[in-house]
Symmetry: C2
Subunit: 205 residues, 2 copies
DNA sequence: GTCTATATTTCGATAGAC
DNA sequence: GTCTATCGAAATATAGAC
């Protein structure tokens, strides 16, 4: 299982969308500040200082602060969906463990982008929010479908598939809220633990 | 179990701290906006409009916007800790079910205050944040102690008590992020479902 | 206690030189 | 592509009349 988790995580590249070094500095600084203070708590001065540029220079690379958030949120949502889609392939019990482990590991190790993904949706403009919501629905449906397959195959004992799917996702998502790198668990240890807890939750024999 | 959950929830009163009707209108408007847009996304105009007052009138009742957040956050954290403390009494397996049901129900039904509690800590001033952190530690320790008691009594099968406690709390906390009153579950239904999932997660026989 | 009016700062975004 | 300088709007908070 661990090899498959490792392979999925290694295949994800947050930065692929931004080839230029300057753009990466800007995006990185925005990411840190959005994750720490939230979108509305972040000023352009924070991003400018974090990337070593003036506030005016930011506008050469991004049309607005909200466009920067949107680009980050879209990229993060696409990564999370790809992670879940890859993990959900194959035999349900094993897929569930891989999914929870990879999802949890990602939320712990990439806490900054995960926080933007999970907690900054309300700062998006309406049209952008709609596009993001579609990515979220994809992710949720993949998990529900996996649970449904497992129930049909008799390896999960679950009375409410959408409810159990919400619970499985919540385990990983909430890690972005509380996890700190100086804490008790490495991302890997937490992933193993949560995969085990989720399997028990679903009644895997 | 349901009677005990109901009794605990009925004993919690968010408004006890604010006897005056005007204060309640202000606190209520701030709560709605903080939950919807976050602290930094909320302006005094939002709160003034929501409470039917001018921005200047707000300062008769609260020293600053941050003091208003602090008062709300402290009250919400105290309620959550009291809920958990009451639920954790008694036989571990039953206490765990009561705790998860009441905690989940509260996060669904009182989503606004729950969101302030769970997601607006970083907007607090340093001294205020320290006071809030102490309340959070109390809550977390109560849950860890309950799980430890259950393991000692042989009713929970858990290899990592702090890790399992984090997972149990995450189930309820994340409800504040995604739950909507127009969704698939009533707070009561979700509470029952999550109490069952948590019991399985902890290996309750 | 509430209002209108306003002080002061900071915000996102733009202009124009280099 | 980056800078300094600045615009206009919006933010928090206060002054003073009623």
């Amino acid at each position: 299982m661990q090899d498959r988790v490792k392979a999925i995580l290694a295949g994800l590249d947050l930065w692929a969308e931004w080839p230029s070094p300057t753009q990466r500095r800007i995006v990185g600084a925005a990411l840190e500040s959005f994750a720490e203070r939230g979108f509305h708590g972040t000023s352009l001065k924070h991003i400018a200082a974090g990337s070593g540029l003036s506030t005016a220079a930011l506008y050469v690379h991004f049309a607005s602060k909200e466009e920067l958030l949107f680009a980050l949120s879209r990229r993060g949502h696409a990564l999370a969906r790809d992670l879940v889609a890859q993990a959900a392939e194959g035999e349900p019990a094993r897929a569930l463990s891989v999914l929870v482990a990879a999802f949890t590991h990602w939320h712990a190790e990439h806490r900054t982008i995960a926080r933007v993904v999970q907690y900054e949706q309300s700062a998006l403009e309406h049209g952008h929010a709609l596009e993001i919501a579609a990515l979220r629905r994809d992710t949720e449906r993949i998990v529900r479908d996996l649970l449904g397959r497992g129930v049909d195959a008799g390896v999960f004992a679950v009375s409410d598939v959408p409810g159990a799917a919400a619970a499985v996702l919540s385990l990983g998502i909430d890690v972005a809220r509380w996890y700190g790198p100086r804490g008790r668990w490495s991302p890997h240890e937490l992933a193993e633990l949560y995969a085990d807890l989720a399997a028990r939750m679903l009644g895997v024999p």
